[in-house]
Every structure is written in C-alpha cells, then in structure tokens.
C-alpha cells in the first residue's frame, strides 16, 4: 500500500538521486557566444534564385495546377466532396452509468438530436442499419428496430472478445476460455465454430470473411471462416509473443504482426483463401513495444506503429520506409483517414485527443481533445465528444457532439456541433464509465 503523497515524494527523491549524473555543468558565456557567432555567421538574409532544375519543377507544377484548376472549373475532374454530402449518417452517443444501464442520444449527421432512450448494455450498444444492438450477459443480444425489440440468445457461454466488422453489420464473439467463435451477421444468421485456443479474430464487412488466429504449441493457425472453417496458414510464432491481425479492406489478405525470433517486429501478409504468405518487417532495432497494424483504405499500404514511430509497408513493392511521423504523446488508437481532397494522406489518431498526421510530416494537427471519438465509414469525418467542463469531475458533464471534416492538409474544416441535454446521468471520473459513440451511414 502506498500513500499517494508519499509515493510522489519518493518518486521525486529517487529522480533527484538519479540525476546526480546529469550533465549540469556548462560554460554559459561560451555557449551564448557560440550561438551568437553561429547566428552572425549565417549573415543577412539573402534571396537566391533556385537552381535550374528546381526552377523547371516549379514551372511545371504551376502549369499542372493551372490545367487541373481549369478541368475542375469545367466539371471534368472527379471531385470527391459529393461523397461527404451523400453519406446520410446517424450518430449515437451512449452515456453509461455504474449500474450497467445508460442513456442513448441519437443524432443525425447534421448534429440534430433525434431521440433519447434508456438502454442497458454490457459495453457500448452498436448501431445497425435499421436499429441498434445492445449486448447483455451470457451472450444475449437485444436488437431494437422500428418493428420492435428482438432478443436473441447466442450459443456461447460467455460473449467476450467482440471483434466487429468495419461496417458494424457483423461481429465475431471469441470465447477465450472454451474456444468457440460465433460469427453473428445481423439479420442473416449466427454460426458457431468450434475453435479451441482462439486468440484473435478480424471480420470483413458484412461478416462474409472472418479470420481467426488459434494458438498452437509452436505458433498460431489462421482459420478462414466463410460459412466453412478452412485452415489457410500455419504461422510459426514464439509461444509467449503477442499477435494481432489486420484484414485488408477487400478481405483478400490478412496481415499478422508479432515478434520475430530476436524480438524484432515481424509482419506476415497472407493471401486468402490460398494461404500464400510473405514474411517481412522494417529494419529497426528489436525490443521496442509495437502496436497493431492497419491497412490503408485502398489496401496498398500497411502502417505499423513501432515505438514512437510509424513504418509504412508498400504491399506491391514489398518495401518498408519510415514515415517520419513521431508520436509525441500517448496513443491508444490509430486509424487511417482520407483527406477531403488531394492524394491519399495518412492520418493517425491519439488517445484522449485527436491528432492528425500526414505522411512525411512529423508535426500533427490537433483537431479535438479530451474525449472519445469515432470515424465515419467514409473516413473523411470524425465525430468527437468533448468535455467542456473538466473541473467538475464528479458532477454532470457537458458534452459536445461534433463532426469534423479533414482537409488534405489535415485541417479541421468545421462541422455542426450539438450539446447534450443538461439532465443526462452523472458520470464518475474513474475512467471506467466513459461515454462512447458510434455511427451508421
């Protein structure tokens, strides 16, 4: 047992003791003189013409810009912005209470509150195409639609380890203890698969393909569940090593990331359903904590977070490169975003705030902070809850719901912002009962 104040004092004392070895000595006058001399050495600012090659590139770029502008003006260039307008979204915010119930607030994509209802759920309810689903104990799911309430019991002893399809229309329930994996395609079917030792699963849109990793004595077997159970690949992996999966957006490949024999990050891309595999990895020093990988929306690139950096794998060229991004802060979740215009940009999200990074630019743009967030399926907009009264930790929270569009430069293009009613249930500050949100186009 540690008293908080005593513990913090001990921490400060230990650091003070440790920092006896810090290089505190400095010749301040010499340092200042050196910096001043360097500054003077640069001389006055002089404008210089760029080299001939650079001048040619600049002229070509300006010409291309003029041509593209003309095409857009003439309506001949495909403008991606209508996709945003065409996405009719619903946004759901669920505010949990300690009793397991919670209040659901349903907004439309413009940020207008549609209705409010009390809903009990183990974890966040999920939006469906025609309603919403709440998860109860013992694998019982409750589906509410305009047609009524439907309760379905699943054939699992404990519904844990939910792995959702990106479109929210299917979920795989992985029973870590007894092994069965149940694939639920909402409104279609629920299929249990007897897979003892399942440790991870990924689900494609609609649940048409599910890939499950099953721990074996000397590695992990990858099973493809698509109505049948097919062993597609036997993956050698250290038994104690963690493992995560990422399914390509079109379901044609699955990437497995774990540690290689020497602790280095190891990525294996497995084609489905034939099981052809390529094992690769960035050239980095082993032993740094790594995080799950994710595919770019077009399936061309894998992003691997390793340590504080991000490494990009070109699946076509089988090459790795350091993106140059550096995560200054703690990150819980990362996602790809598609900027509204221009070339595909890589953007990642941090935990407890939202930072957008562009490929090749180490400095992020902070869009929102202090709350959970969700990305719309078009990957162009972000919904966020923002606590605007952080001082009242045990009082009622005021929460904003907003949607944010991302420009090619990672800028926040703005969006509607709504405010939850002031009478929503109080939320404790222990970090366990955080509001959640999700969406459905």
């Amino acid at each position: 047992m540690h008293d908080p104040m005593t513990f913090e004092r001990r921490l400060a004392d230990a650091l003070e003791q440790y920092n006896v070895g810090a290089p505190v000595q400095v010749d301040s006058a010499a340092l200042a003189s050196e910096l001043a001399a360097r500054s003077r050495g640069r001389g006055p600012l002089r404008l210089q013409w760029p080299s001939r090659t650079v001048r040619l590139v600049l002229v070509a770029g300006l010409l291309a810009l003029a041509v593209v502008s003309g095409l857009i003006a003439a309506g001949m260039w495909p403008d991606r912005s209508p996709l945003v307008e065409q996405t009719q979204g619903r946004l759901m915010v669920w505010m949990p209470t300690s009793s397991g119930s919670g209040t659901t607030y349903m907004y439309n994509s413009a940020g207008d509150l549609q209705w409010t209802r009390q809903i009990g759920s183990r974890g966040c309810p999920r939006l469906l195409a025609d309603g919403l689903m709440a998860m109860g104990d013992f694998g019982r799911i409750r589906i509410e639609t305009d047609a009524g309430v439907h309760v379905q019991d699943l054939d699992v002893s404990y519904a844990g380890g939910e792995r959702w399809a990106p479109d929210g229309r299917a979920v795989a329930l992985v029973d870590m203890e007894d092994g069965p994996v149940t694939v639920v395609r909402f409104g279609i079917d629920s299929t249990p698969y007897d897979l003892a030792g399942a440790i991870e699963a990924v689900v494609s849109n609609g649940g048409e393909r599910v890939v499950v990793a099953v721990r074996t004595g000397d590695g992990a077997d990858l099973h493809l569940l698509d109505g049948r159970d097919t062993l597609v690949y036997r993956h050698p992996s250290p038994a104690e090593s963690g493992l995560s999966l990422a399914l390509a957006p079109d379901g044609s490949r699955v990437a497995v990331v774990d540690s290689g024999p020497n602790g280095e990050p190891q990525v294996t891309v497995v084609s489905l359903p034939d099981g052809n595999a390529i094992t690769t990895g960035p050239s980095v020093e082993p032993g740094v904590e790594f995080y799950p990988i994710s595919w770019s929306p077009d399936g061309s690139t894998l992003a691997l977070r390793y340590g504080s950096g991000v490494y990009l794998y070109d699946a076509a060229g089988n090459t790795w490169r350091d993106s140059g991004m550096y995560f200054h802060t703690y990150v819980e979740t990362s996602r790809w975003l598609v900027p509204r215009a221009g070339p595909l940009g890589l953007a990642m999200l941090g935990g407890n705030h939202l930072d957008v990074y562009r490929d090749g630019n180490a400095e992020p743009t902070r869009l929102v902070g202090d709350g959970p967030f969700g990305i719309w399926p078009d990957r162009m907009r972000v919904a966020s809850l923002e606590n605007i009264d952080p001082a009242s930790t045990r009082a009622k929270l005021s929460v904003h719901v907003g949607t944010f569009e991302i420009s090619a430069d990672g800028d926040d293009l703005g969006g509607r912002v709504a405010t939850l009613p002031a009478d929503h249930p109080p939320i404790s500050s222990d970090g366990q009962l955080r509001p959640c949100l999700n969406w459905m186009p």
Partner: protein
C-alpha cells in the same frame, strides 16, 4: 505577491527580452538559470549523460532561434525544459539501440543515501526503467522540473486533463510494479 517576487518577475522578463534581441550576455544569464533543470530533465528521459548533453545543447540552439517568439516571458522556464524534454525524446528515438535504460545500476552506486530508503528507490528506478521515453518525459517534467499539468500540456501539445489522466495512469502503473517488486 511580494515585492521581491515582483522584482524577480520583472528581472526575468527583462532578461528574456534582452536575450531575444540577440544579447549574448542576457542569454548566458538564462543558461545559468535554467541549464541545470534542462539537463536533469534530458537525463531522466535519455538515461545517458552524453545523449542528454547533446539534447540540452540542441535545446539551447532551438531556444536561441525561437526566443523572440515566446509570448509570455514569465513562462520561459517551462518553455525551456519542455524543449529539452522534446529534444531528449527525439535523441532517444534516433538512437533506438538503447530503448530501455537500467536506472538501478546507477542508483546502486549512488553515494550518501540511507540504505533503508535506497532499497525502495532502486525498486522505483527499476519500475521507471520500463517506461518509454514519452512517459519518462512526462514524469521528468512533473517531478524533476516541477511543472504543473497546464505547463506540461503546453509543452507537449496535450490537454491539461490529458496530462493529468496520463500521469495518474503512470503513477498507478509504477505503484503496481512496486507492489510486485
């Protein structure tokens, strides 16, 4: 606020203002005042004296270039130690061959400590050694430089509540590790 404090504040502002114009004598006074704190923060993050020295040197170079852009001269200390922390994190990242530093070896030979206290300190240091550079920077800015959550947030581009919650998680993690030490 006492007259002395007001006088200190005014003197600091004057020094920063002069240094921002390129006055090397004023800049040297800033170095005298803040170098030790910056070096300790960098050392906590790097765990290596040479690396910390390079990071602190780099931090001063940045400070020299950007001092004119510092709006609140009263925040110069937190601004400087945050630069040092960031440079130290970058330095560790560039030299990935040493991602984890065993602090305990150094503490075992630290002179003058009460043996009874030192045992706890060694355990604490071992727990600290498992943190990544980002987390160490947070710990260093809070418990070595003594910055508050708002100052840390400004330096690390985080929200104050984010700093508080992350610090709470870090302390809880350290406590848990110490309970099992």
């Amino acid at each position: 606020m006492s007259e002395l404090a007001i006088g200190d504040h005014a003197a600091t502002n004057a020094t920063v203002r002069l240094a921002a114009t390129g006055d090397s004598a004023a800049f040297a006074r800033l170095v005298d005042l803040h170098h030790a704190a910056m070096a300790r923060v960098a050392y906590t993050v790097c765990g290596d004296a040479e690396l910390a020295r390079d990071a602190t040197q780099q931090a001063w170079e940045i400070a020299w270039r950007r001092l004119a852009g510092l709006r609140d001269h009263g925040q110069v200390r937190s601004w400087l130690v945050a630069i040092a922390a960031n440079e130290a994190r970058q330095a560790v990242r560039r030299r990935r061959s040493r991602p984890i530093v065993d602090l305990s070896e150094r503490l075992d030979i630290a002179p003058g400590a009460d043996p009874a206290d030192r045992i706890g300190t060694v355990d604490l240091a071992r727990a600290l050694a498992h943190l990544n550079p980002d987390d160490r920077a947070l710990i260093a800015l809070r418990y070595v430089a003594g910055l508050d959550a708002t100052e840390i947030a400004s330096g690390l581009r985080m929200s104050p509540s984010g700093v508080r919650s992350r610090l709470a998680r870090l302390l809880q993690r350290l406590r848990t590790e110490l309970d099992h030490a």
